[in-house]
Symmetry: C2
Subunit: 323 residues, 2 copies
DNA sequence: AACAGTTACGTAACCCGTAATGATA
DNA sequence: TATCATTACGGGTTACGTAACTGTT
């Protein structure tokens, strides 16, 4: 049994059993992977992948177990390397993060700016993905951290840390009737066409606020892109409902930003990573820069918890920042 | 990084940093090990072992961490192999046990006999060792199970399962004054020279019973070997105090066995193994044959516990067999 | 002087990549 | 027919064992 063989089966599983694309991503050849997998299967005496003729069609039940264990083995070997690097090259390494559009566009830039200034030799890679993809990338080991707003349904191999709460804001043009309204209500919003996130998707809290007031919102345009929302608001299409941190008073000086914290329940942004990830000191520092209450000590306390429900319980006693 | 390299550093650590003896035990050459260790250190960029000139003198702090992680990696790769074997060769494999003299001599033979009859293809290896050594052998991965009576001070990487309670018996020659005594007391025993286990070592409960009665025992002879105790009793050296399961009415027909369960607090025999050990079905079966209350389900429940104190708490509600 | 670890070197195994073959949708 | 996995084969690397060397107790 060789570490490469374990890496191969894990990567093939990550690539939907496509050996060719796996080979491309690992910069090696298909036959090499095929052969090593077969050698491993011969050594273990079990089939990891089920085949129809020459195509890999599925992972056998025992293969699932073996691949899961292999992931753990590879994570631990990565830890060994990381610990060694931490020791003799504390400020070099990599940090791979995947996140949603809103975070990448409106929240992370300032954090990243500080980070790369403090750690110029860290190779930082930021990736934007769909909410469902984020956690998968963490589990597959493709990235270290996922930053997400949807409370992910994750297995216990991941650690989920709440970072901050945030509210929606309502944005309108300066000449809009609502612009001078001191205190908004759902009823008022229901009178106008709305431009916002997809209500059926991540905006269930938006939908619920209207349902609770027994109103049906009039959605003129929906998108996941806050910039687009603002653009359409500026065009006069309707009243915008957008994450508060997505509006910037200097950039959006032609818009009026109205507080909507009392209309909708707050959301929470989380950082997610594998429990068995070795956290290098700059990773702790990144987390702390992203959310100031998440000190190294607090993160370690969370890691000592046995489950994510325990972690959430722990954070119930801690006041999160609100953005 | 190669799995062999990890195996090498772990084994060198297990062999007190003696590379030569490590090489012997692994059936390979010293230079090979030296070179691979050096290659690993070069790759990681850190020293795992500290050296004075050409001798390995100690493990560096970071080396300790790396070796600990390596042990985990190797345990997981072993799990992969075991899981595969379990799948395609359910009744072949190995089972290595280390235990104390008393267990090996008086308790295990019947269990082993059943076991090898049921699993003739399992390579069973039984080893007898000193109490301190037993747990080390488990941690180093040399054996699967340790069976011991001293409640071991073990770290949380081991699982400690209580198997049964046992009492001492008093044995005397047929013509001894105590032979017809219906109910023994400590005072009676204090009147005679005693032959027993080392009171200062594992027999603190023996010592305490006398201390509580404010008597000083007169130890004529002490040994860890129950056979020797019985031999000296037969020679008339004194009154024997010995583990109850070490006396057999047919073999020891020239001795009188007196109940001493009310004089001394009972002891507990434990089975100890690494938490990350993959338990093959015959291992569950062995545990169950050794101690009938330890069903597979109960063992799994214990494994789900986070700590050994939790496990002990769980077993507080369960009545253990008494031998 | 005996022992232990490293260096040097030759052999054998093995991993990998290219090319060819076989199977699948 | 195009895609994909396996088989065949050759080249380069590497791991290992023997032997010689060097440092340690």
């Amino acid at each position: 049994m060789k570490l490469q063989q374990l890496r191969y089966i894990v990567e093939v599983a990550n690539h939907d059993l496509n050996v060719s694309s796996t080979a491309d991503s690992l910069y090696t050849s298909q036959p090499g992977i095929s052969k090593q997998i077969k050698l491993l299967e011969d050594e273990l005496g079990v089939q990891i992948f089920a085949r129809t003729g020459k195509h890999l069609t599925s992972i056998t039940p025992i293969g699932e177990t073996i691949i899961a264990l292999s992931r753990e083995v590879l994570a631990k070997t990565k830890s060994i390397k990381d610990i060694a690097s931490e020791h003799h090259q504390p400020n070099t390494g990599t940090l791979n993060i995947t996140t949603t559009y809103t975070q990448a566009r409106y929240v992370l830039p300032q954090v990243i700016q500080q980070f790369i200034q403090k750690y110029p030799k860290i190779l930082l890679h930021l990736e934007q993905g769909m909410p469902d993809q984020l956690i998968e990338d963490v589990i597959s080991g493709k990235v270290d951290f996922a930053i997400t707003t949807d409370l992910p349904v994750v297995n216990e191999e991941c650690v989920v840390l709440p970072c901050y709460h945030w509210n929606y804001s309502v944005v309108v043009k300066k000449d809009h009737p609502l612009a001078k309204e001191p205190k908004l209500t759902i009823d008022m919003l229901a009178n106008y066409p709305l431009v916002s996130y997809d209500f059926s998707n991540d905006g269930s809290d938006l939908y619920h606020a209207f349902a609770k007031a027994q109103k049906t919102p009039n959605i003129a345009f929906s998108t996941a892109d806050a910039d687009l929302i603002k653009t359409y608001v500026k065009l006069g299409v309707g009243v915008g409902i957008v994450a508060k941190m997505a509006v910037n008073t200097t950039e959006d000086s032609d818009l009026v930003v109205l507080n909507a914290g009392h209309l909708f329940s707050y959301n929470t942004t989380y950082i997610v990573f594998m429990r068995n990830l070795f956290l290098r000191h700059y990773m702790y520092d990144f987390i702390n820069q992203f959310s100031s209450h998440l000190t190294k000590e607090l993160v370690n306390n969370a890691l000592d918890c046995g489950s994510n429900t325990e972690i959430q319980a722990m954070f119930n006693g801690i006041k999160l920042p609100v953005k």
